[in-house]
């Protein structure tokens, strides 16, 4: 075989992967077959090629048998390509003289019959042997990592990640869509199972974010565009205007005081509509930043242009300006942490629980505001009809573990339901019933909290509630909400009349999760939660290098888990930043200039903007630092002048012929 490296001596290694491969594929037969192929000097099968002895075997064989090409038939290159390249390097060979064949995911795991599966493995190995002979020595490039970090989302996940990075001396941009940071945690009253006040532990961290010299905080802002690659992201952020200049505002709130609306009149998002706000408002007293927002949807100035503008008069610093426009800023960062959080399930989607129909049916998030001392009722639990409840029914798993809505367990509802049961009992002395499918209390101190609630006399009824109705079967039920439920421990259908019903709503991905996913070029699982690179071993990484996940945007999580994950994401970003640079795969595209006709077909196709056009010579040019090796341009080039390292035409053709050679 003609080759630029003289005579070719190939070593073939067929891995059993315990019984993962060997259970279906006859590995020894594959190795024996490979031994008979042209240029194969050694062919072995081995229990675990990725093990230390397996790797040493490779390195030793390279030396002893003077091998200059290696084929490993084992699992996916995603898992162990790196391992075997290192092993080959240890044996003194260029790592790109090694080729991996996936006979696990592509073969043993997807087939049931031994003979055809073994045949397929032989096909694939035959292709790899022909291919590897053609492979060239390649060198890895390297790119510098920009030390700044973008954190998207200012809930507890984003706050914790941003502070960790900033404390390590890195410059952080924290972008939050809402007018304040704090996220859902700011709405909670107490946290389970310790019952410490959510605001007391959160607001100091919020203030730290604002005060930190390394953090640039942009609230009421969103990420518009992300370009570039690991180490070198260009990000466009839109800063929506509050119509109040943050640099001038002192946070005195005179504008709110003096608004022409003397009384708050509009739906208060932070209080779930249980309270009212004015068109100019601060979401909650400890909001960060302390700059109010003017909502153009409700402000008279924007609706009719005819307003006395008492807010403008009241502002001593002249910070209010109705002419302000949204601003766009471009920043450069090396890494990005996505911490966009979750959305609470819309309880109106389960009509049989009467949310929106019966006024005394609440969501759990509404109760958080109702029991909160800084909430719309100053912590007084009064229902929409003005009465204090004497009995409360808490329905678990609303929008969770349900074929009709969401199939997943939202993980936090059992515990927050217990917490709300405790708080409601404490605030009102009401009799509280929990309706659960299974109690899930696997965290630290969680089960103990459940036991405490049992001792406090909260009732637990195992069964999924069929409906909440105002139908009174007898006079004792008149004026009550009746929960109809099959008590599966008692084995009978029960009717439990209560004054107030709380729906423990589950956690859902944000409605625009798909757009956000596309923006950052990351992946979503079917349900819309962002997908981690590996569920066990890379839980905060995404499939895009340099972009990490933190908090509930990856799946339902409680506060401790969210904070732990945010810390992990920050550590991953730090690891990249402190390394200073990252090795780059050499499988990039390149132009054979003499064949290039300058048609420019490739230029707009490149998703990474890596191809430019040199008009002086009428040729395309690939920037190897930007190229991710996707191959789009290579496939599209009409003259075949775009080629790709590691995927050269002759390599591919040899592989095809090899695969077809075994019958």
């Amino acid at each position: 075989m003609p080759d630029q490296n003289g005579s070719v001596r190939i070593g073939v290694y067929v891995c059993h992967c315990g019984s993962n491969i060997a259970g279906i594929v006859d590995c020894k037969a594959v190795a024996d077959y490979a031994a008979g192929l042209a240029h194969v000097a050694v062919a072995r099968d081995y229990k675990y090629m990725c093990s230390e002895p397996g790797q040493e075997l490779l390195a030793k064989d390279i030396q002893e048998h003077k091998l200059n090409r290696i084929v490993v038939a084992s699992c996916s290159p995603h898992l162990h390509e790196h391992t075997f390249r290192e092993a080959v390097l240890k044996g003194g060979l260029n790592p790109f003289f090694m080729h991996m064949v996936n006979i696990r995911e592509h073969d043993s795991w997807v087939h049931l019959n031994h003979d055809p599966a073994t045949g397929k493995a032989k096909n694939l190995v035959s292709g790899a042997v022909r291919r590897v002979a053609r492979q060239r020595a390649l060198e890895k490039g390297s790119v510098d990592i920009h030390p700044d970090v973008l954190v998207v989302g200012g809930g507890i996940a984003g706050i914790h990640a941003a502070l960790t990075l900033a404390n390590a001396g890195k410059k952080v941009y924290l972008v939050e869509r809402q007018p304040t940071i704090g996220g859902h945690m700011a709405q909670f009253d107490k946290t389970f199972p310790t019952l410490d006040c959510a605001a007391c532990i959160l607001t100091p961290k919020m203030s730290q974010v604002k005060a930190h010299k390394n953090i640039t905080l942009w609230t009421y802002s969103d990420v518009q565009k992300v370009d570039g690659y690991v180490g070198n992201y260009s990000v466009k952020v839109r800063k929506r205007t509050r119509y109040i200049r943050e640099d001038l505002c002192s946070g005195c709130q005179q504008c709110i005081e003096e608004c022409v609306y003397k009384q708050p009149k509009f739906y208060d998002e932070f209080n779930q509509g249980l309270g009212k706000r004015k068109p100019v408002y601060l979401p909650f007293p400890q909001a960060i930043p302390q700059t109010p927002v003017i909502d153009p949807e409700t402000c008279i100035m924007f609706k009719s242009g005819k307003c006395k503008k008492t807010c403008v008069e009241a502002c001593e610093r002249g910070a209010i300006d109705f002419e302000l426009k949204d601003e766009e800023v471009d920043i450069k960062v090396g890494t990005i942490i996505v911490a966009t959080g979750f959305k609470a399930f819309d309880a109106a989607r389960v009509p049989y629980y009467g949310y929106g129909h019966y006024p005394n049916v609440y969501t759990s998030l509404e109760i958080e505001r109702l029991v909160n001392a800084s909430g719309p009722t100053s912590g007084h639990v009064v229902m929409r009809d003005g009465k204090e409840p004497k009995s409360v029914g808490i329905i678990h798993c609303v929008g969770s573990r349900d074929e009709n809505t969401n199939r997943w367990c939202s993980r936090v509802c059992c515990m927050y339901s217990l917490k709300l049961a405790h708080l409601l009992k404490e605030h009102t002395g009401a009799e509280v019933f929990n309706f659960y499918i299974d109690m899930r209390t696997p965290g630290k101190g969680f089960e103990e909290f459940y036991q405490r609630l049992l001792k406090e006399g909260v009732h637990f009824i195992r069964g999924r509630v069929a409906e909440v109705t105002d139908w009174a079967y007898d006079p004792s039920e008149e004026g009550k909400l009746v929960l109809r439920v099959e008590d599966t421990l008692l084995g009978m259908v029960r009717r439990i009349p209560v004054d107030m019903v709380v729906l423990s709503v589950g956690l859902e991905p944000h409605k625009d999760a798909q757009e956000v996913r596309r923006l950052f070029n990351i992946t979503c699982a079917n349900e819309g939660w962002f997908l981690e690179r590996h569920p066990k071993l890379a839980p905060v990484n995404t499939f895009t290098d340099g972009i990490f996940l933190a908090g509930a945007c990856q799946g339902p999580k409680d506060i401790p888990d969210t904070v732990a994950q945010a810390g992990a994401a920050a550590a991953e970003a730090l690891a990249l930043i402190d390394a200073g640079c990252i090795e780059q795969e050499p499988n990039t595209a390149y132009v054979i200039e003499e064949h290039c006709s300058g048609c420019k077909t490739c230029v707009p196709l490149c998703p990474f903007g890596a191809i430019s056009f040199k008009s002086e010579v009428n040729k395309a040019e690939v920037n190897a630092a930007l190229c991710k090796g996707c191959g789009t341009c290579v496939a599209a080039c009409p003259s075949g002048s775009l080629q790709q390292h590691l995927f050269e035409d002759d390599e591919i053709f040899e592989e095809i012929e090899g695969v077809l050679a075994y019958v």
């Binding site: 009509p351 049989y352 129909h357 109705t469 105002d470 139908w471 009174a472 079967y473 008149e478």
Partner: protein
């Protein structure tokens, strides 16, 4: 809706216990000038016992009606009885989605020298009035002022489940909206789709009547002066056993009408032609509400 209106499938009940439904429906559609053509040589829809005992025969019975409809060139068949509606609708669904049922049905139709049906739609008058006439138009066409107090709209089970074309399965509201359009206020009736007892009133009488009583008492408790239904079996159950309840000491005497009776009356239909005299319960109230200077009292 085509200019020819709808093919009308009365089914057994509209010619027997539910005669008031047919009379008021025909009068209502006459007032609205929507033509109805009765299906030629129609047969049993295949409901209840058939469906429970021998599904195959039920589908065949139902299919014969659908085939005749296709033959007559009418592609929209209106079935006012909730049971007829459900069986016909279910047949369309099953024949479409289950090849083995389709094969049986087609073989049966061939044996009877009938053609396979395609493109036939099954519709219910509630949904027709809501979608084709509309709440707004009904409001404009209303000529008589409702005097009957609040109405409990009772939808029953079959028309709204499992298919959601007549109305949404949980908390259906279209009948409420039509009543409101005709000037009649409605109550928030939590039991609007709960069981009326169905045929249990005939088989396990006590159980059936108890279910009935629950519906009636709750309607009265919520301040309804009248119950309005879209199903002849519901109407029969709710209307018929009130005397029995009174004999047990339950103070109940409330009219149970078809929604078409209220609408036909409100839209100026002939009071003598909407089956009011057929009601058993709440006669005094009916007589009071529906008496009119422009037409003789019905009795």
């Amino acid at each position: 809706m085509s200019a020819n209106g709808f093919l009308y499938f009365p089914g057994c009940s509209l010619r027997a216990t539910g005669a008031a439904y047919e009379e008021s429906l025909l009068e209502l559609f006459r007032v609205l000038a929507i033509p109805l053509t009765e299906l030629d040589d129609w047969n049993c829809c295949g409901a209840t016992s058939y469906m429970a005992v021998d599904e195959g025969s039920a589908f065949l019975l139902s299919s014969r009606n659908l085939s005749i409809a296709a033959e007559m060139g009418g592609h929209e068949i209106m079935a006012p009885c909730a049971a007829c509606y459900l069986v016909l609708r279910k047949t369309l669904d099953y024949v479409e989605h289950y090849p083995e049922i389709r094969a049986k049905v087609e073989a049966g139709l061939r044996a009877a020298e009938l053609k396979a049906f395609t493109g036939v739609k099954v519709r219910h008058p509630l949904e027709i009035l809501y979608n084709e006439v509309g709440v707004k138009a009904l409001k404009q066409k209303t000529t008589r002022k409702w005097k009957g107090g609040k109405i409990a709209c009772y939808y029953g089970c079959q028309a709204v489940r499992p298919y959601d074309e007549v109305d949404r399965p949980h908390n259906p509201m279209r009948m409420d909206e039509l009543m409101n359009a005709a000037g009649a206020p409605t109550i928030d009736y939590a039991l609007k789709t709960k069981c009326c007892g169905g045929s249990l009133t005939g088989t396990i009488h006590e159980v059936g009547v108890n279910l009935n009583e629950i519906l009636l008492r709750e309607a009265v408790r919520k301040g309804a002066g009248c119950i309005v239904t879209i199903c002849p079996l519901c109407q029969f159950n709710l209307d018929t056993y009130q005397g029995e309840m009174r004999a047990r000491g339950v103070a109940i005497d409330i009219p149970v009408l078809y929604f078409t009776q209220v609408l036909a009356w409100a839209l100026g239909g002939d009071i003598g032609k909407i089956g009011l005299k057929r009601s058993i319960s709440g006669r005094a109230a009916i007589e009071k509400w529906f008496s009119s200077e422009e037409a003789p009292a019905y009795a």
